[in-house]
């Protein structure tokens, strides 16, 4: 950096945030243009002092981290079922049997995953995923139960099933996505073995909520154009966001939509 540039940066740095905002956009643009037109200095590309930045260390994404994250998702689903099961009443009371079975499956999956974690030198993880709870589970449950600002769902059983389907699809998609990232081939095989069971769970729950034969193949709502619930929504396992539409309809008849995604870097359970 030459002396002229250093002076400009010091000047800009001397202005506090309020003064900079008070200059307005045109002043900032003008300053940039003037600096760019100067013959004796290289074009300036900024007038503010960005200061130093601290780069957050990228977490190492290895088999242990991916498996611990998968274990956390298993516990998340188990805890979610405990919150959703009380809503399964009336026509959907029999779905509690499926929930009981699936909870047992998820417990077995969590144990199996943690055994794998330990076998490759990691530490077992036996808690749910805070971020997924915060982003998806708690908002979904609040939409069903209602709050000071949210009207309770008039169809809590159907909505609870819809959330369960989304979670099982999320689990299946998570295992599908990590399968090609895991380095250990035996671990890959174990992961997809569990993932295919989660997909079976999702399919059974989908058939509970939409038992008509016509609901197996993909279709669209003729009014809204939205995808109807389908037991076989696509030829290949999807890694796209999972759309979850639940809750009390608003004045225009539209329910609340949540977009559920497989764990991202922020959801990883590192050691």
């Amino acid at each position: 950096m030459n002396d002229n540039n250093q002076t400009k940066l010091e000047f800009a740095g001397a202005l506090n945030r309020r003064q900079l905002l008070g200059l307005g956009g045109s002043s900032l643009l003008g300053a940039a243009l003037l600096a760019a037109c100067s013959h004796d200095t290289p074009p300036a590309t900024r007038v503010g002092d960005a200061g130093t930045t601290t780069t957050i260390a990228e977490p190492e994404v290895n088999d242990v981290v991916l498996l611990r994250t998968a274990a956390s998702l298993e516990y998340t689903v188990i805890e979610a079922y405990a919150q959703l099961a009380p809503f399964l009443t009336g026509d959907f009371a029999s779905a509690k049997d499926a929930v009981d079975r699936f909870v047992a499956d998820h417990e077995a999956h969590a144990n199996a995953i943690n055994e794998l974690v330990v076998s490759i030198g990691g530490t077992a993880y036996t808690k749910s995923n805070d971020r997924i709870n915060r982003l998806y589970i708690q908002p979904a449950v609040e939409i069903i139960t209602g709050s000071d600002t949210i009207e309770p769902s008039p169809t809590p059983a159907e909505d609870a099933l819809a959330v369960a389907i989304a979670l099982e699809n999320l689990a299946a998609a998570t295992y599908q996505s990590v399968t090609s990232v895991l380095e250990n081939l035996d671990v890959r095989k174990a992961a997809i073995s569990i993932g295919q069971t989660e997909a079976r769970h999702a399919t059974i729950l989908t058939r509970t909520l939409a038992p008509e034969l016509a609901a197996i193949v993909p279709s669209k709502d003729p009014t809204t154009g939205a995808d109807n619930l389908s037991a076989l929504p696509s030829a290949f396992g999807s890694l796209s966001s999972i759309s979850l539409t639940i809750g009390a309809p608003n004045e225009s008849g539209t329910k609340t939509s949540l977009s559920v995604d497989t764990p991202s870097l922020n959801s990883l359970i590192t050691e």
Partner: protein, 165 residues
């Protein structure tokens, strides 16, 4: 998920199928074409009379055709584009029978799921593993649907992974 292994990973697996992967992928390709042909036999034999059930069987044809095509794209010139004759021969009579179709289809879907899961344990290239994983997920859904078409109602029956009939 957009997660990738850390850049400094010392043993990052290869993306493209390796030479060792090819026999496995070729076998899966031919198995999928066999499944496609078997469901075509079911469609041609009108094994289901219900219009909605028929749509399901036709969807199965399309799915297995798509798997065959995707695998062929991965293995390139090694793709035979021929169905596994042993699989077709083993199931074709049942797929032409209204009373046996759904049970045979369920056994086939579980067999394919098992084969593909086993393949993931040997495939070195991540592209092959990713494709096969995406197939396993939907074929396991197929297994539940074919179990239901076969009259299964209990959770044990719907979740059964039995292949032998």
């Amino acid at each position: 998920m957009s997660i990738r292994p850390s850049a400094d990973s010392s043993a990052a697996p290869p993306a493209r199928p390796t030479k060792n992967d090819m026999p496995t992928l070729v076998a899966l390709h031919e198995a999928e074409l066999a499944a496609r042909d078997l469901y075509r036999i079911a469609v041609d034999s009108n094994v289901v009379s219900d219009e909605d059930a028929s749509a399901v069987v036709k969807l199965m044809v399309e799915h297995h055709r798509a798997y065959g095509q995707a695998l062929a794209g991965l293995i390139g010139k090694l793709a035979s584009n021929e169905a596994d004759a042993a699989i077709v021969d083993a199931h074709k009579a049942a797929f032409a029978s209204a009373s046996q179709f759904a049970g045979a289809a369920n056994a086939l879907e579980n067999e394919l799921t098992l084969r593909h899961t086993g393949a993931i344990g040997v495939l070195e290239g991540t592209e092959g593993a990713a494709l096969v994983a995406s197939i396993v997920i939907t074929e396991s859904r197929h297994a539940v649907i074919t179990a239901e078409l076969n009259g299964a109602t209990s959770l044990d029956a719907l979740l059964s992974t039995e292949v032998a009939k």
